[in-house]
Structure formats: C-alpha cells, structure tokens
C-alpha cells in the first residue's frame, strides 16, 4: 500500500510538471500587471476613479498584492456636492475654457500618512516598526511617472511604490505584503509587479483580466455589474445606454453534452434571438455562432426602463456570439448592444478576448 501511494505521488508530480504554468495576468479598471502563476483576485472595488484591488498568492502563502488608485484630476470632495460641482464643467464646456490643470500631489506626504497607519497597527501588536523611503524619480517610457519606492517592516513586511502618472492623472499605490520571513519572495514578486504594472492603455482598450479571463473593453465603458462565481464569470460594461456583456462558463465539455452552442446561447442571451440573423463562423479556430440585428420593440422598452437618467447612445442594435474553447474547456459569450453609430464593436471586443 505504501509503495502504491508513493508511486501515485510520483505520477502526480510528473503530471504536474507536464503542464507548464503561465504567469497570472490581472487587469481591472485600467490597471494591468502580471504575477506568478495561480495568484487570484480576492477583493476589488467597482469604482474607476477611486478604488482598490487585492490579489492573493495561492495555497497557504501569506503574500498579497494590494493596490489603491485615485484620480488626481477628480479630488475627493468633503461633504455633499455643491451647485458649483455640477455647473462648473458645463460652463467650462460652453465657454470653451480648458480643464483646470491637475495639481501635483505631494506623494511623500501621501505615503507617509499610509505608513503612519501601518505603524499604528504594529504598535498595537507590540512589534517594532521601521520604514524607508527612496527619493522621488521619474519613470516610464516618456518619464510620465513621478514615483517613490518604499519598504517597511512591522507586523510583517512590505515593499511598494507610489506614483502619479501625468498621462492618466492617476495616483497609484502598489505594495506586496507578507510575513517577515518572506523577504526574498516579496522582493521577487515586487520586481515582477513593478516591471509589468501599467495604469493606462495605449490603444484605447482596457484589459479586464481575472481568473484566466482576458478581454479588451473600450476605456470609456464602465463596469456596471459583475458576477464572479466558481465556473461562471459575468461582466457587464456600459457607456451611456450601450452595453457589452461578457460571460464565461467552465466545464464546457459537460455542458455541451446536453446543449448545442445555439441552444445554450438562446437560454442565456440578454435578448430573444428569434428574429436575429444568425451565422456560423470561426473564432480563434473554434466553432462559433454569431447573431446580429435590430433590437425588438420589447427589448428597447426594457432598455428604456433600465436607462436611469440619460438616453445618450441609446442602443438599437444587437450583436452577440458564443464559442467553445476546447483548449481551456470553457464557453465564451460576448454580447454588444450598440447604437447605430457604433458598428464593429463586437468584432473589436472579440478580437481582444484571449480564450486559451
């Protein structure tokens, strides 16, 4: 029995070696970076202007990557918004005045405030706290980032960076946190994180990547709804009334035994597919079903009900498709509800979806 178990362990180890693990790509709210394999997003915020993201190491490792970002061009208001807050941009647009210059943020003061809070935690746990700040420097291909590196030891250990980007006006604080004994691992993860971290995109498409899903969405679309379940991911993005809906189901080989692609999509599509033109095509060498056409009156009324305040870019057309990726054993569906002016959006989004 012992020999059998030993053999089994050797076989499992060999199997594990056969499958090369790729780095984890994380993309959220315009921020993207790479981490070692099997890291997973564990906490996130839905806000693009002022938010946070946390990514945890696999297994029992205590390493985590924490990110916070805020828009320097939209400073946080204290108290409720005033009439000035609403009217100033309108008057500025009407009078064709330029946007006010973004004030340069005191990064050192910001990071010192955060370190002070960390020191408080260390003091409560009765452990000594030490921190060090490097000098401010310019980074990036066009020196667009003003950055300060920092590190601390207290309850655990952390290595991070704060910077302000002059292109997207974001202030980003990123740090890798772990136990005191994890110094080497923290340094390795931090160097990979800072080498691959980007806070804005060059081609106008934000990368949204988590749990092995990678898709490019136009940067002016905002995340409206998400469902991140085991075996099912759902993301809805909106720009005015226009929507992009991305779904991914796991265990495609099990699902497809009972349903054809068209049946599965018909059961899960945002609108009724009965009157839409359908055709079979190939996406990334996978068989796909594609639907396109005008939205029915019923669907438009439903969208009108959901449109809360604005009818800007009200969608009148639908384009959607589903394909099965046998390599990753997953079903991918991308649906676009768009206005007459935005043709070709489905193709642009689908071209930026990495399924395997």
């Amino acid at each position: 029995m012992a020999v059998q178990v030993q053999k089994q362990k050797v076989f499992e180890a060999a199997e594990a070696e056969e499958t090369p693990q790729t780095d984890t790509v994380v993309g959220w709210q315009g921020i993207r970076f790479q981490l070692p394999p099997e890291w997973n997003v564990s906490a996130f915020s839905m806000d693009r202007d002022n938010g946070s993201l946390r990514v945890d190491a696999p297994g029992s490792s205590s390493l985590t990557v924490q990110l916070r970002w805020m828009n320097a061009a939209k400073p946080q208001r204290e108290g409720p918004p005033t009439a000035y807050h609403y009217l100033a941009p309108l008057f500025r647009k009407w009078l064709r005045r330029p946007e006010p210059a973004v004030p340069k943020t005191d990064l050192k003061a910001n990071i010192e405030r955060i370190l002070k809070e960390t020191a408080k935690t260390a003091k409560k746990a009765k452990s000594t706290f030490e921190s060090s700040l490097r000098t401010e420097k310019l980074e990036g291909p066009d020196d667009e980032r003003t950055a300060i590196n920092f590190s601390w030891t207290g309850v655990g250990r952390g290595q991070g960076k704060i910077w302000q980007c002059s292109v997207c006006n974001r202030i980003v604080i990123a740090q890798v946190v772990g136990l005191s004994k994890d110094q080497a691992a923290i340094s390795a993860v931090a160097s990979q994180l800072f080498a691959t971290l980007h806070d804005h995109t060059a081609d106008g498409f934000d990368l949204w990547a988590l749990y092995d899903l990678q898709i490019g969405i136009p940067e002016d679309f905002r995340l409206e709804e998400q469902k991140l379940l085991s075996g099912y991911l759902h993301l809805t993005f909106a720009r005015g009334g226009e929507k992009i809906i991305v779904d991914r189901w796991g265990l495609a080989n099990v699902t497809r035994k009972k349903f054809s692609l068209a049946d599965w999509f018909a059961n899960n599509a945002f609108v009724s597919l009965k009157r839409l033109a359908s055709d079979e095509e190939t996406i990334y060498d996978h068989d796909a079903v594609h639907y396109a056409g005008k939205l029915s009156l019923f669907a438009r009324l439903r969208l009108l009900r959901d449109a809360k305040t604005s009818l800007r870019r009200f969608p009148t057309r639908y384009e959607g498709g589903i394909w099965e990726c046998a390599d990753s054993n997953k079903l991918y569906a991308v649906q676009v509800l768009h206005s007459r002016k935005t043709e070709g959006l489905w193709d642009e989004v689908t071209d930026r979806c990495v399924c395997h």
């Binding site: 178990v5 089994q8 499992e12 199997e15 594990a16 499958t19 099997e38 997973n40 696999p58 029992s60 749990y211 092995d212 085991s230 075996g231 796991g250 265990l251 080989n253 099990v254 035994k257 390599d327 990753s328 054993n329 997953k330």
Partner: protein
C-alpha cells in the same frame, strides 16, 4: 463541514453567554485539505448511461424493529436513489479514502481544466454536501498512520 445539532446548540449558548468562553474550534484550511474523504460503506453506486453516477442509499438501516415494521406496513421505500452528474461522479470515485481533498482538487482541476481556485471551491462545497448527507466521512491522517 456542518456540525451536529448538539454542537451547534452548544456553541449558540456560548455566543449568547460569552463569559462561558465556549467557542467553536478554528477550522484550518490547510488541515482540511489533508483530510481523506471515504465513501459510506452502506451505499452502492453504478455508472449510468448518461455519464452520471447513480447512488443507492438504503433507508431505515438504523431504525428499530417497530419503525421497520411500520415502514413495511406503510410500504415506505427501502432505498433512495441520488444521481450525480459527470463531475460529481468523478469526485465520488476519488473518495476512496486514499486521496486527500488536496489531491482531489488537483485532479479535478486538471481533468476539467479548471482554475485552482474554481476547482477548490467547487470540490470542497460538493464534499461538504456529501458529508452533510452522510454519504462520505473524512479520515484524518495521524502520526501512526
């Protein structure tokens, strides 16, 4: 895993009367992954044509003579049948007492190309459900074994 009713009541008392200092033990994730699920020997199972697995659960096994007589008189069913889907059947086959939860998670993840996190959540939830119905039990590896 879900606790027996007696223990749940015991810890509920501890929650409302904190000075008694009764609190449930902390469940360590790492320790849970080293447990070895084993099937209930009373259950029989067979593969169905659709790819699923059919479990046959005997009823009234532990019932007394009177209950058994009543069940016979009322023609109560003597067994219950539960159908597991393909993935459930795959996990069920691995619950033989020799595989740890960790191994089952890894194997299921590899077989169905699932992300490690997805596989762990799905498998542990499924095992928890089987345990609640007394279909499986967990062996804990001790120093002697």
């Amino acid at each position: 895993m879900r606790m027996p009713l007696k223990m749940r009541l015991y810890y509920a008392i501890g929650r409302y009367l904190p000075f008694l200092k009764i609190s449930p033990p902390n469940v360590d994730r790492q320790a849970t992954l080293t447990l070895r699920p084993g099937r209930n020997a009373l259950l029989t199972w067979e593969k169905s044509e659709t790819g699923g697995t059919m479990l046959t659960v005997p009823q009234n096994e532990k019932a007394g003579r009177i209950t058994k007589a009543m069940a016979k008189w009322l023609r109560a069913p003597t067994e219950k049948r539960v159908e597991l889907d393909e993935v459930g059947g795959y996990v069920w086959e691995l619950c033989d007492g020799s595989h740890t939860v960790e191994t089952i998670v890894q194997k299921t993840g590899r077989e169905y190309k699932m992300n490690r996190r997805e596989a762990e959540v799905s498998v542990t939830m499924f095992l928890q459900m089987l345990h609640e119905r007394n279909f499986i039990g967990f062996y804990k590896k001790t120093k002697k074994s």
